[in-house]
Symmetry: C2
Subunit: 366 residues, 2 copies
Amino acid sequence: MSFRFTLHRTDASARRGTFDTPHGPVETPAFMPVGTQAAVKALTIDQVRSTGAEMILGNTYHLALRPGESIIRDLGGLHRFMGWDGPILTDSGGFQLFSLAQNTKVTEQQATFRSHIDGALFELSPERAIAIQEALGSDVVMVLDHVIALPADDNAIRDACDRTIRWAARCKAAATRSNQAQFAIVQGGLNPELRVWCARQLAELDFPGYAVGGLSVGESPEEMYAVLDVVCPVMPADKPRYLMGVGTPRDLLNAVSRGIDLFDCVMPTRNGRNALAFTDEGPLRLRNQVHQRDERPLEVGCPCLACRHSRAYLRHLFLADEMLGPILLTHHNLTYYQRLLAGAREAIEQGRFAAYMDQKLKPAGG
Amino acid sequence: MSFRFTLHRTDASARRGTFDTPHGPVETPAFMPVGTQAAVKALTIDQVRSTGAEMILGNTYHLALRPGESIIRDLGGLHRFMGWDGPILTDSGGFQLFSLAQNTKVTEQQATFRSHIDGALFELSPERAIAIQEALGSDVVMVLDHVIALPADDNAIRDACDRTIRWAARCKAAATRSNQAQFAIVQGGLNPELRVWCARQLAELDFPGYAVGGLSVGESPEEMYAVLDVVCPVMPADKPRYLMGVGTPRDLLNAVSRGIDLFDCVMPTRNGRNALAFTDEGPLRLRNQVHQRDERPLEVGCPCLACRHSRAYLRHLFLADEMLGPILLTHHNLTYYQRLLAGAREAIEQGRFAAYMDQKLKPAGG
């Protein structure tokens, strides 16, 4: 079997593992940079690799709309298309139906929506979401889920949750490839009973991995942590656990402490393009006047491309509207996230994760 | 002496030389990528180096306005500021006074203008242009010249030409550093007598290098080549000759054949950002439908970052508005220019430059 999740060590609820895939291993807990449209924004694929990333994300919705999955399939699949030979996870498009598509209508059979690019009518069923991801050839394939806006009443959440479970079963039945692993997605809003119920139902379907979805949609960090507190204990311990679309450094460490293994988020890349750099001393806003003559790097000892330069130079690049500013800060932020999780892995191995988390979050709270 | 120009070989009028500077040698004929605002647009400094570039360009006007030369000086000079340890040439700002600044007024003493960024009033005299470039610490410093729009009547051209010569003498007198070489700029529009006269006057002032300025401002290639035909023979043979702001691959080879040693131009970088790739088969427009499923690289055998990918992927990046498209095509085009001139150097060494030029220009004319 080409997929395997090996749990090396736990430290309280934090887990140190290895997730083996057909395109190589991923040491967990791990952060996956987001390459929505078959590119991690602002970076060459070599630069993505040099941040320490082992696995990256693509997106079913975006790639089906543009360039179309048949083009990627005919050109040898997503790995070859974007030049990444490591593992790739593709999101199913469920979140984009909720956040980006226009006029989305969900029936039991499928979601119908209009493309945010050109208004063209599209249909996305569980079977179609799997077929697209099989054409893309990603290693991990996400089931199509039904994401709804929060806050919502319990009936609406339960309805979306039920549909997510039924759609997960249809996704599983639709799979035709043995070299892809499907992850199911636990929904249930902020309702602990629904979350637990959803996780248990999905666990019975026996997927190779499980995700927590429908978070990071406007709730507070504490509400999110409360969901993880109830849902992680009922997710299968021998499978990887993926928290979708989260989050700040503080969110990541809090989730790791509750037993999450995989993350993705646009935060390091999007913030990098907007001149915000993550550091252990808290975020730096590079457009600020205070950096005008500062010859220090963003962070001493950081091996990224930005930290070869002064803060003054980085500030200049943003004020002068040079693409190099977003490029360098994206590389820094992704490197920061990778180092944060490398430190977490080491701390779990050494049984000192709680102390590591305290130390990382004390100065500024990420 | 830290500057030296060594002429190794000529092939008809084409010259193969080495220009030694305090930051290392430049093999000529050479193309200098443009780093106007202390960055070559879209590339990290390592990527600039990996194109094969040995010397790059910065701009006095832009850097004086933003971030201000005192900041760059206080941070250790332009080399350290942008992380480039090779030779740097800084343009004087003469061309920007003509092309970019607002309400430029030129008197014998100086040019007065308003910043294109914030409308602030600035003065630029020959002495000030040199002082700024001394603060920047570039290796080659251009004198301040008086550029005018073409076509213009002979009196206006003669007037600007006279002023350029007087300003060159003032620039020379203003220099206080021994580790910078000043290049004078030959003006004279399309008037052959004025060009020859200007070149001879400047030659008498004995500069370490000479440039041909005021071209690539709307005249035809043939008009430009006609200027080079008359001006190159009267430029000192033992000094490097730099053709400013030029041009297409065809322009470069035509200028090399007439005895030019150094070039700069925004064409490879600007066109790269606009999805146009230079190849030996002629330019490719990557947005075109024809590339949709094309798995070939831009050019077989090209070592650039773009040519690791298919044309289909590059097209997708531009249609999806991913920064990686401009990044990869900038790297390709600069690599193309460097390879074009590396081929020219080799051809001159082997006495077959005319054949090389024929071969490169036959398919599409660049």
